[in-house]
Symmetry: C2
């Protein structure tokens, strides 16, 4: 018997024990999953919760087909963006009334960045004195943007800068404290890097941004539903994120926008559609913004996608995000241990930090021919994804991924890059 074979049996045994002791194990039953596959792409598209199909059928056949327009009030369609926002809020560490579900993440980045620089501009005008606020008296013409951001955020931030007379300064998140100055209006950062899975220091960076008199906008696409975010506790000003990754809302389900309560009356949206009017059915020619989270809405909400998301959120009933985080770290630790045991040294290199404080809920491995390796993995039933130029991404969604899945994925990876574990 080879040493590798013994290692595999030992890790497989450990996996079984860990799965047996997993308090989240039963959550998996709420999802449609093919047991022949290991699904590690929940950081791209979350798996289908079982309840969604029947709920959507009811929305279509009864709420639309039978009740028709009455459903805007009677079936709660109109209030869905705020109601579903309040379902997501606890997962982000936000009290009710601050999160709204609407539009795409990119559109919400636009709203948030424009609103942030407008608040900074307002602070500057207010100047010093009794009303003194953060950035009083400064000329703030810079928006710092995570240099390794998901590209869309950067594109949209540059558009916001162009339209509001600011300039974008690309900065690695770790360098943000040094780059902050009296010229900084806003800072747009990713909580977890989409490529490397690195978790950035949201509390520390937000505090630094505030100390410089600027506003912090966080993109939570890869942390919402994966780990505690603590928006309220850490004083985050604005945040956006998608709902189709760790929140399992379905392909292209609408994104969310968080506007801290104390900023809501100053939130000056560049997309003031009728849904954000204080009296949307008054059909007034003059715009007067709604109070509260509804101010982040724009046009008519896409009800089918939105109510599928609402149904998907039921899997979170009774599941604290802290428990999800604990399992996520255990899973990714265990996956890295299996990779170290099975894959010959040097064949892959983790670009995800080993330190828990710097790790999201995915493991990104750099390897040669990553695109081809991922094709082989998928053909062998391990579904991750590939991000150019050389990164394999494996997302671990603790609600439905187990330790045996992690062990199997590592074994198949070793196989796919040409080294069998036994």
């Amino acid at each position: 018997m080879s040493g590798a074979g013994a290692a595999a049996r030992s890790l497989a045994g450990r996996a079984a024990e860990l799965d047996a002791a997993d308090p989240l194990r039963s959550s998996r039953d709420a999802f449609v999953l093919d047991d022949a596959r290991v699904y590690l792409d929940g950081n791209s598209l979350g798996a289908l919760p079982k309840a969604v199909s029947a709920r959507l059928r009811d929305v279509v056949e009864r709420e639309w087909g039978e009740l028709g327009i009455r459903s805007w009030s009677e079936s709660g369609w109109w209030s869905a963006p705020e109601r579903i926002g309040d379902r997501i809020a606890p997962l982000l560490g936000a009290a009710a009334g601050q999160v709204v579900v609407a539009d795409s993440t990119s559109v919400n980045v636009f709203k948030a960045v424009v609103a942030a620089v407008r608040m900074a501009g307002e602070d500057a005008v207010r100047g010093a004195g009794e009303d003194a606020v953060r950035g009083a008296g400064e000329e703030r013409d810079e928006i710092l943007v995570d240099a390794s951001t998901f590209p869309s955020d950067g594109y949209v931030a540059r558009s916001a800068a162009r339209l509001t007379g600011h300039r974008v300064v690309p900065v690695e998140p770790g360098e943000v404290p040094a780059a902050l100055s009296g010229r900084t209006a806003a800072v747009l950062l990713n909580h977890v890097d989409f490529r490397t899975g690195r978790l950035h220091d949201l509390p520390g960076l937000t505090a630094a941004v505030h100390e410089a008199g600027a506003y912090a906008v966080w993109d939570l696409c890869h942390s919402a539903g994966a780990l505690p975010v603590g928006l309220d506790a850490h004083g985050v000003d604005l945040a956006v994120g998608c709902t189709y990754k760790f929140l399992n809302g379905g392909p292209g389900s609408p994104a969310f926008l968080y506007v801290r309560e104390e900023h809501q009356r100053r939130f000056d949206s560049p997309l003031p559609g009728w849904n954000s009017h204080v009296e949307p059915f008054g059909m007034e020619p003059e715009y007067e913004a709604a109070v509260g989270a509804a101010r982040g809405r724009v046009g008519t909400p896409d009800i089918l996608s939105m109510l599928a998301l609402e149904s998907a959120l039921d899997v979170w009933d009774g599941v604290p995000v802290e428990a999800v985080r604990e399992k996520s770290l255990a899973l990714t630790d265990f996956f890295l241990e299996c990779v170290a045991a099975y894959v010959p040294e040097g064949a892959v290199e983790s670009v995800t930090p080993a330190a828990h404080a710097e790790r999201g809920s995915q493991i990104a491995l750099r390897c040669e021919d990553a695109g081809k390796v991922m094709e082989r993995l998928i053909a062998r039933g391990v579904v991750g994804d590939y991000r150019p130029p050389d990164v394999l991404r494996f997302g671990f969604t603790p609600l439905y991924v187990g330790f045996a899945d992690a062990e199997r994925a590592a074994a198949v990876l070793a196989d796919a890059i040409g080294a069998r574990p036994a």
Copy 2:
């Protein structure tokens, strides 16, 4: 026998004859409708096409649940915005490759208005000479906006103006030719007024806008699927519209954006999300816009709502929009005739023009206590809607509304305002 009773019997007889001769009559079978009700609110939320529920179930259970992320390519999710745009295009008189389905109408108004004023600004910079274009050399700082527009368009246009250094000038559509000048950058108009149902002169006004060297942006919410629009033939620059009224896409189904082919390379979106990048999966930090209609995309498309819309569009197979228009005019004529016969003179006043060239596919009647009257109508099975302060709206969707429906609606209206027809 009273004269009113005879009139009712005569009109009911005419209705039966008209229905029997209606070439679109069988289209109704494609929809889920309650025969006990007359549904005249398709100008707010179109009825449910029967095929949608099964299609959506397949999208959820097979495409999302089984195929998962593979569906982005294998199930055609990624290309849905352009593919569905091409399905809508013929109804708008547009050749393929110019319409994309994305976001809400309000968000698309923002894209279109900003892009229009940017083109006007570019024209001004190019100046006279060999490259001379429309507005060469002028300082164009005005955006003319339909003064009676659906409010959201006005709010969003003012936001676009504020962000681009323009000012909004509210103008009644009929007054646009007189208001145009060398200062006009763009004009935002509604094809059909949401409140009165008045159809505006798209060919004539577009020509006038062009003569003044400006760009025409049309909102087609109340004409798409109700009448021929002729975007290509009339030289419209940009257009937007919703898909949940006469296109029956479902509550909040995504809107469309038309960018005339000759403008596509100059279409400079204020919302340049990754979906509009020439290589969206290249994850490049620098933005380079896609060629073609995809340039109007922003973030990840909401697939469930979008594919429900695609399925809903099947009811148009073999149905020319010209036939829909012909029936729409006959229906609204007949409804007005029935109202004149049944409702005592002076009790209601049509604010929809009698002239066919000025009428969309709804009839708006002003009456006292309109809100209460509509409640009574709905209680008696005639579903229209109410728009403050005093307008009853009755939308006629020729695909599923017949002449007997129109007759019954007029009779119930007479009843609801206290005058029985017999």
